[in-house]
Structures are given as C-alpha cells and as structure tokens.
C-alpha cells in the first residue's frame, strides 16, 4: 500500500514538474507573445470557442437526455437499439467527413461547426444516461410503484436522482472532449482558438500554435473542474460511488 502511494505521488509530482518546465521553457522562448500582442483577438477567439462548446453541448444535452429517458420507458424499450446505433454512428464518422457533409447543407461557418460538435457530444451523454437509468435496481422501481408514485414521480424522484452520477459523468466527458474538438471549427470558418493552432501548424510558428493550444488545454481542464463541482451539487449524497465503498 505504502509503495503504491509512493509511486502515484511520484507520477503526479513528475507530471507537475513537466508542466512547470514546459511553461518556463515556452515563456523563455516567448511563445506566448500572441496573447500579449493581440489580446483583443485572443479574447474574441476564446469567446467564439466557448460559444461553440456551449451551444453544441447544450443542444446535445437537450437531445440526448430526453431521448435516453424515452428509450428506457417500458413502452419504448424495444427501440433502444435504434437510438444507440444512431448515436454510435454519429461517433464513428470522422470529424472531417461530418464537416464536409454539413458544409453542403449549412454552408461554411458557425452553424456547421456547432452541428458537428453536437453530433459528437450526443453519444456519451445518451449512453451514460441510458446506462445510469438501466442500472437502477428493479426492486427500487417496484417499491416506488408500490408506494403509489405516478410514472413521472418515479422518474424525477427515484430514477433521475439515482442515475445522476452516471448522467453527469457523461455530460462532463462530452464537454471536455468538445472543448478540444472545437479547435477543428477553424477548418470551416467556425472561428475559435483553432485559428491560431492551425495557423501555427501551417506557418511553423510555435508562437501562434502554443498561444492557441495551451489556452484550449487550460479551458478543458477548467471545464472538467467546474463540472466536477456541479456534480457535487447535483448528485444526491446517498448515491455517490464513494458512499457505497
């Protein structure tokens, strides 16, 4: 046990050291110059990036949650495979293919980018919500019915609260991945921090590249942290996994 602890601590501090070294190194080489030279552009790109993530994620939640609830209702049980396959399909098609396809319909720009990101976010949310709802002990539902709860009361008072941990994990995964994927929006004129990343790649300009890539990474970490906080608020105390350990 002691040994395990020691190794995990070493790995963690080694990682921190690398990150600090990276920042020191990149600052010395003046790789973040864009952030200071073109602060206005940076703010604009970050705002675009956040908009892309926010709109597509909210849409994905709005679609995935209700459909997951729908397919877990007894009446629609048989349709679960259709939805699961649809969501899987969305995940399998390469980003560029989705973009190419949608450009012909929605044209270039923000809308297409949002659509592509939305397609990618639906699956993890949908699948985790279905898994969370399916993992609820049948006897719990039975007890709820036996107490005289109506179907919507069973859903909101028993099923969703008990699946909350799983649902939140799905949302968190989707959004964190989304923050990274949103960099591709540049390719179809969707804006965002991808603009600097791809410019940097093409011009072999480390400065531009890192001024885009590092903020994206930090955004992803920040999103993860904030969503964990939200998780703490949303998931009922009695159903957290640590509670059952």
């Amino acid at each position: 046990m002691e040994r395990k602890k020691f190794v995990s601590l070493m790995v963690r501090y080694g990682f921190y050291a690398l990150v600090i070294y990276f920042f020191v190194w990149s600052f010395q080489k003046n790789y973040f110059s864009y952030l200071f030279k073109e602060t206005e552009t940076f703010v604009l790109l970050t705002r675009q990036h956040l908009e892309l993530v926010a709109v597509s994620s909210l849409l994905a939640i709005a679609v995935a949650l209700p459909s997951a609830v729908l397919v877990t209702r007894p009446r629609f049980r048989q349709t679960e495979w259709i939805f699961t396959n649809l969501a899987n399909l969305g995940q399998t098609i390469p980003v560029l293919a989705v973009l190419a396809l949608m450009i012909s319909i929605l044209g270039l720009g923000f809308k297409t980018a949002v659509f592509a990101l939305f397609i990618y976010s639906v699956l993890p949310i949908f699948r985790n919500t279905v898994a969370g709802l399916n993992s609820i002990d049948d006897r719990l539902i039975d007890a709820a019915k036996g107490m005289g709860m109506k179907p919507h009361q069973i859903l909101f008072r028993v099923e969703l609260p008990n699946a909350a941990y799983s649902i939140m994990a799905g949302i968190r995964t989707a959004i964190v991945i989304n923050v990274g994927t949103a960099a591709f929006a540049f390719l179809i004129g969707g804006g965002g921090l991808g603009v600097w990343i791809f410019t940097g790649i093409r011009l072999f300009d480390n400065s531009a590249l890192l001024s885009g890539a590092v903020p994206v990474t930090l955004l992803a970490i920040l999103a993860d942290y904030l969503l964990r906080l939200l998780e703490y608020v949303v998931v009922p105390k009695g159903t957290r996994p640590s509670a059952n350990a």
């Binding site: 006897r139 007890a143 609260p161 009695g238």
Partner: protein, 330 residues
C-alpha cells in the same frame, strides 16, 4: 379485511401462477402466504395492490373491489414492505419514511411529527437518523426503516413480501419479535409472504400454504402442524412438526395444564427460563445444558418451579396429540 374471491392469474403462454384462490384475511390478522418458490405467493400479494393484474376473480379490501379504486390511490392506501433494497438511496431516512405522506401532500410539521412517532415505534432514534442515508445503516436498521415507511400514512392494510428474508438469523428473529410487538399496537390487516415455516408459525394468526398457484391448506398454525391436510403439507411442515408446535406454547401454558415440578435444591448448575418463554426454546435449553431441570421464573425473577424434559413430553401428549385442535390465542 382482504377477501380473495376466486382469484386467478394467467401469464402469457397459459402459465397459471395463481389458480382459483379464495380466502379471507380478517381485520387485524397477520395472514402468512407460505410455500416453496414459484408457488404464486408473491404474485398473489402483488395482485392486492395491482402491481400484477388479475386475470379472473376479484380482490376486495374492506368490501370494495380493488379494481374500482384508482391504482395510485389504492397503492397509497396500502403499506408495502419488500426485502431489503427497497429504500431510496438518494433520499435521507426522513425523506424515505415520509415518502407516502409527501405524495399525499401533508404539511411539513405533520410529516415531521409522524416521522418521530414511527421511528420511535420501530426503535430507532429519530434525531440521529434524520439526515443519514440508507447505505449508512445496517441491514436490520434499513428494514426497520422499511417497516416505518410502510406504516407512514397509517394504512389499514399492509403487504409484506419476505420483509426479513435477507437478514441474518439473529437480526431476523429480533425484528420478528419487535414486529409482533408493533402489530399489537397498530393492529393492521397484514398479508405476509414467507417461505420459512418457522417464520410463518411465529408471525401468522393464519397460514395459507400454497403450491403451484393453489391453496393446499388455510388454517391456524397449530392446525397446520397438527392436522396437515395432505401429503404435501405434512412434508412441507417437516417431520419435526411436533417440536415446531412447541414454539406456539409457553411455559405458562404448561404450568396451567400440568403444573410445574418442585425445586430440588440439591441439583446444581441449573438454568432459569422466564415463564413467557416458548416451550421449544425451553426444550432446547434443557437439551443443550444437559440439565435435568430448568428453573422457571416470573417477570420479577421470582422462582416458580421447575420444568424437565418429562414435563414437556407429557404436555406434548396431552395438549397436542389428544386435545388438538389447539387455539393459538395468547
């Protein structure tokens, strides 16, 4: 009062889970549905609050068919206890206990008062457990909360589906004893599913022994033990039915019938039993201690006399072999 009027349940594919069952549970009685697994006892229970539909026949609660009532109203007016895991993990103990009152729209103060009363009834400290969650409680405590929850809206009728089935033997016995005490206070009409003959004898005023969806025998526990109607019943009851029957009688019964022995001061190393102890446990004390006699005491510890194996044997012959049927009252 619950009346089963020729109730039949047929599942798809012509499987008769319950076959023309007719009997009545009197008000204030505990009726135990007993039988091997798959005999239809749980299905029968779940038909009362319509978790299962009724194919044919009718179930009446206090004279009213349960089909005439709205399903939701019906279920809220019936207490329902299942084997462990029935508590909602996302809710605190207080929220769990007051689920039905919440559904019925009681105000906060009334709910809190009810919570206190119920927790005290089932022997848990209301303040200590209010903000706790089910997973923080032991199996026995969870099941007490389950009983409290079923009693929350003071339903006249309760359905209990192997409520103590998942507990260890010691906890189970304690909860059974406590529940009998609770029942003396609340006097509900209870339908109780069990597969355990000992539990059925202990808990039931009446036992309905089932097999393949049919009633094999519907009688008092002692009738079933003394006069099993057919081969199946006597096999289910077991060869030790005479001994099982002893658990329905107390030392006090024995004293009334044949009196106690004198206290022989020269015999050392004797055990004492309370006069209200049942004869089955008394007998096993006698056997396990290899003592020739046990001293019987009353509730104040006063020595009343002694019991030997011989006494028990004589009582068994007199009471169970010859005087049967025996009333189970008292």
């Amino acid at each position: 009062m619950i009346t089963f009027d020729h109730v039949t349940k047929i599942y798809e594919g012509d499987v008769k889970a319950v076959d023309d069952v007719a009997f009545t549970v009197e008000k204030g009685d505990i009726c135990v549905l007993l039988g091997p697994s798959g005999c239809g006892k749980t299905t029968l229970l779940r038909m009362v609050n319509r978790l299962e539909s009724i194919t044919e026949g009718e179930i009446r609660i206090n004279g009213k068919s349960n089909r005439d009532l709205d399903t939701i109203e019906l279920r809220r007016s019936i207490g329902y206890v299942i084997q462990s895991n029935g508590l909602f993990p996302n809710m605190t103990i207080e929220e769990n206990v007051t689920v039905v009152p919440s559904l019925l729209g009681w105000d906060r103060k009334k709910k809190r008062e009810r919570y206190h009363t119920l927790m005290e009834l089932v022997g848990l400290d209301p303040a200590e457990y209010r903000k706790r969650y089910p997973h923080e409680l032991s199996g026995g405590q969870q099941q007490r909360v389950g009983v409290a929850r079923a009693l929350a809206a003071d339903p006249p009728v309760m359905l209990m589906d192997e409520p103590f089935g998942a507990l260890d033997p010691i906890t189970r016995e304690r909860l059974q004893d406590e529940f009998i005490q609770i029942q003396r206070e609340v006097k509900k009409t209870i339908l109780f599913v069990s597969h355990d003959i000992d539990e059925a004898i202990k808990m039931g005023n009446k036992i309905v022994l089932m097999r393949d969806g049919k009633i094999m025998q519907h009688d008092t526990p002692s009738e079933i033990l003394v006069h099993p109607k057919n081969e199946f019943v006597s096999r289910f009851v077991g060869k030790d039915r005479a001994i099982k029957n002893l658990s329905l009688h107390t030392v006090e019964d024995l004293q009334k019938e044949i009196g106690l022995g004198d206290i022989n001061e020269t015999i050392q190393d004797t055990k004492t039993v309370n006069i209200h102890q049942d004869l089955r446990n008394t007998l096993s004390t006698l056997m396990n201690q290899e003592a020739e006699q046990v001293i019987v005491t009353d509730d104040h510890g006063e020595k009343l006399g002694t019991v030997t194996i011989d006494h028990v044997q004589r009582y068994l012959h007199l009471e169970i072999r010859e005087k049967a049927p025996v009333s189970t009252e008292g």
